[in-house]
């Protein structure tokens, strides 16, 4: 499912889960499907991630070895700019020849010239923009818990689908639920997920 960046005029409902510590990681694959981020337009990819997502420049440089902007492999995130409705995906270094080929600025980059992101000549525009951010593999593992703690904006339909795929483990390890800041049960939370256009989901580890 392509993440939709269509916005609602109403504020999204909030669901906060407190999970046993080892159950939090079950939510990490959700970050690979895309979360909505709001931030200033006209920024470079690097600046946008630092300002809006709180990712450190050092982490980006060292750990984020593979980056896609609108599905195209990016070699330099300090010059490419994000525009409204862009999709940005971050990954650690990947195995396989394909992994080496897709790496930022790697020596095998010529092998994927046709799907490389080209430098933009025009300005990406200013103002407030919404982008879809995808976190994959080790990047999701390392940055994901903090994103989940702060809360991530996801389409309700995708969250419903994600929870259903967990089967009997979906709510296992869930110690408490809050809806819009008030204590709630699992049932109403599941119902809210099923009936909401957007949900702001936060997941906290117990203890």
């Amino acid at each position: 499912m392509k993440p939709s960046t269509q916005r609602t005029t109403t504020a999204p409902r909030e669901i906060a889960l407190t999970m046993s510590r080892n159950a939090v990681s079950r939510f990490l694959p959700l970050l690979g499907e895309g979360i909505l981020l709001k931030g200033p337009g006209g920024e470079t990819v690097e600046a946008f991630l630092v300002k809006t997502a709180g990712v450190s420049p050092a982490y980006l440089k060292e750990r984020v070895q593979t980056v896609f902007l609108n599905g195209k492999a990016l070699d330099d995130f300090s010059t490419a700019r994000v525009a409204d409705e862009a999709t940005l995906a971050l990954s650690a270094a990947m195995p396989g020849l394909a992994g080496a080929v897709l790496r930022r600025g790697g020596i095998y980059a010529p092998m994927r010239r046709q799907i490389s992101h080209e430098a933009q000549s025009q300005n990406a525009g200013g103002g407030e923009i919404y982008i879809t951010l995808k976190l994959f593999n080790m990047v999701a593992r390392e940055l994901g818990p903090e994103f989940l703690k702060r809360g991530v904006l996801v389409p309700g339909v995708r969250l419903k689908d994600f929870m259903e795929r967990q089967g009997r483990w979906a709510w296992e390890g869930c110690l408490s639920v809050k809806i819009d800041g008030r204590p709630a049960e699992v049932g109403p939370a599941a119902e809210l997920i099923a009936n909401s256009h957007w949900i702001r989901l936060s997941v906290h580890a117990s203890g």
Binding site: M1, K2, N22, S25, R26, L28, P29, G32, E33, R63, Q65, T66, F68, G71, K72, A73, A89, S91, A92, A93, M94, P95, G96, L97, A98, G99, A100, V101, L102, I107, Y108, A109, P110, M111, R112, R113, Q114, I115, K134, F136, N137, M138, A140, R141, R165, G167, W169
Partner: protein, 580 residues
């Protein structure tokens, strides 16, 4: 490893085994040895299932030693799938055991005069060859259980399933893993069919009483091994990404790049990708089987541990962690987004003895032909079961995508030299397309996989702005890969070598100290070139021409969404790959 065990299955009076000195093949291992024997001893124009073909099973140069990551094994022959030379590679326990038994290779020759099925038992004192009707049409799992009951769980098994017995061109050769399960396969090119044609169901290797192979320079070897392991553990790919998620970590990334072949190579993105990603798979395994289930080695001595164990919904063992190529072949390529279905298909493939890539690609072609609908998980399972039963439809499917496409009149058949392409669309990553087109093996992602060419200094520096850059990169990668395939080392070591010159030096020291020689990058390059030259020469004598070093035409004509790209490398450039 100073001898070769030759077993003549067609000898007068019944099969006979004879060990002979390694002779002119001295110093070769793995792919170098399989390709040297096939190239020198097999008539290139012979029928792959005839008595003239040979099945060569060769551990790597360091197999049986204490070197980390040295347990890969090569299986070579003339391929029933491609008609050319074949080396298929596997993990599992037998490689180390054969090395400790002192054999550089086991060669199955000739052919029984009837359809008697044999089992072979090899230990340090004897080679026993027995007819065994009870094994007929058993799956690999049942064969392993029977052998374990008889010989105990300290031996290793090399076996074929029903697909190999039926001599299907997609048949694999199975190797037991550390848990005595037949989950590791020399999958590609129909090597299982050649073993079936020799009438051999299983080879049991027993290294009881054998010691670990000793290096000539023990101190240097120990130091090099330590540095090599440390290098692998500290690297982000080999020390973190692969152990945590396995090779399926690539699903999200290749999909995002728009190079994930979907529904028989019609699209470059799959909507259900996140449901079958490595991240989802690892969480599923760890949730169902307990923390750590997604991290496991394919043989003893593996420090990367990119495999794992897949449990069903009730927490029971179903199969080993399906690899990226398997998840793609049976998943996105067939429009299937359910990991449990994919794991079941992997289990069936392993049990029947089938190459997962070839089977997934074949079912994709069958779906395009209308035999089943894309996304129909139950239909996919039924089709693989047809192969296991050997029904007329199953016989067609079990002979691969090219045969299936021909039988059902499908134009979009993603094969080169008759072998199915793996999980990277060559229109998205065109450099991989160059390797698919030109490798001696038929479309094969691992033929140009060892991303070490820059360290080895093969072919000089590459100018990325020139179109021939991709040709040079593919050439260099194929040379480096052929060399690593000969060491018995897992190809995944290449990532640590790519980024860490000290780890590459540790590998050279490991190889050099074992033989008491000083090895240089040039030596490794020379080895790679000599292997490719032998293989190219065999294929040429088998009737291959440069016109076979091409991708199917539709890759040049049909645009691949979402980036709408076609394969643009010129034929004349492809012809330059082996000009060195």
């Amino acid at each position: 490893m100073d001898k070769i065990l030759r077993i003549n299955m067609g000898a007068d009076g019944g099969p006979k085994a004879e060990a002979e000195p390694v002779g002119s093949y001295a110093g070769m291992g793995g792919r170098a040895l399989t390709s040297a024997i096939v190239s020198k001893e097999v008539p290139p124009t012979c029928h792959p299932l005839s008595e003239d073909n040979k099945l060569v099973i060769a551990p790597g140069l360091l197999s049986g030693s204490a070197a980390a990551m040295s347990g890969r094994i090569s299986v070579g022959c003339k391929s029933p799938l491609t008609g050319g030379i074949k080396e298929a590679n596997s993990g599992g326990q037998p490689s180390q055991m054969i090395g400790r038994l002192g054999y550089a290779a086991i060669v199955l020759e000739g052919k029984p005069k009837d359809d008697t099925l044999y089992r072979i038992y090899i230990n340090k004192d004897k080679v026993e060859i027995k007819a065994d009707k009870s094994l007929k049409m058993l799956g690999n799992y049942a064969v392993a259980e029977k052998m374990k009951a008889e010989y105990g769980d300290k031996v290793g098994c090399i076996s074929i399933g029903p697909a190999g017995e039926m001599k299907m061109a997609a048949a694999s050769v199975a190797f037991t893993d550390m848990e005595f399960r037949p989950t590791r396969h020399a999958g590609r090119g129909g090597v299982g069919a050649v073993m079936g044609s020799k009438g051999v169901k299983v080879i049991v290797v027993d290294d009881a009483g054998c010691s670990v192979r000793s290096p000539k320079d023990a101190d240097r070897f120990k130091e090099a091994n330590k540095a090599f392991v440390a290098g692998l553990r500290k690297h982000a790919v080999t020390g973190q990404g692969l152990p945590t998620y396995g090779t399926n970590v690539l699903t999200n990334v290749i999909n995002e790049a728009g190079a994930y072949p979907t529904k028989n190579f019609m699209w470059g993105r799959f909507d259900g990708c996140s449901k079958i990603s490595g991240e989802t798979q690892a969480e599923t395994e760890n949730t169902r089987g307990g923390e750590g289930s997604a991290t496991h080695g394919c043989h003893r001595g593996c420090v990367i541990r990119c495999s794992g164990t897949y449990y069903d919904k009730d927490g029971h063992y179903l199969t080993k962690q399906p690899e990226y190529e398997t998840v793609w072949a049976h998943g996105g390529n067939c429009g299937i987004d359910d990991l449990d279905t994919i794991a079941m298909l992997d289990r069936l493939d392993d049990d029947y003895g089938l190459d997962t890539i070839e089977m997934g690609a074949t079912i994709g072609v069958a779906m395009e032909a209308g035999i089943a609908k894309f996304g129909d998980a139950q239909a996919a399972i039924s089709l693989v079961k047809e192969v296991g039963k050997g029904s007329p439809l199953g016989r067609i499917l079990g002979n691969g995508a090219a045969v299936t496409g021909r039988v059902f009149g499908v134009e979009r058949v993603p094969v080169v030299k008759g072998q199915s392409m793996p999980a990277y669309d060559p229109r998205g990553v065109q450099g991989i397309g160059v390797t698919y087109a030109t490798t001696t093996q038929g479309a094969d992602h691992t033929a140009g996989y060892a991303v070490t060419a820059n360290i080895l200094g093969v072919g000089g520096s590459v100018n990325p702005l020139k179109p021939e850059g991709q040709i040079e990169l593919s050439r260099n990668l194929q040379i480096a890969t052929a060399a690593i395939d000969s060491t018995g080392m897992c190809l995944f070591i290449a990532f640590a070598i790519l980024d860490q010159p000290d780890t590459f030096q540790a590998l050279l020291d490991l190889l050099g100290s074992f033989n008491g020689q000083k090895l240089t990058g040039d030596d490794v390059v020379g080895l790679g070139k000599s292997i490719l030259t032998m293989e190219r020469d065999f294929n040429r004598r088998a009737g291959f021409t440069k016109e076979m070093d091409r991708l199917p035409d539709y890759f040049k004509k049909e645009k691949l969404p979402p980036h709408d790209v076609t394969f643009m490398v010129k034929d004349s450039d492809l012809d330059q790959v082996f000009n060195w």
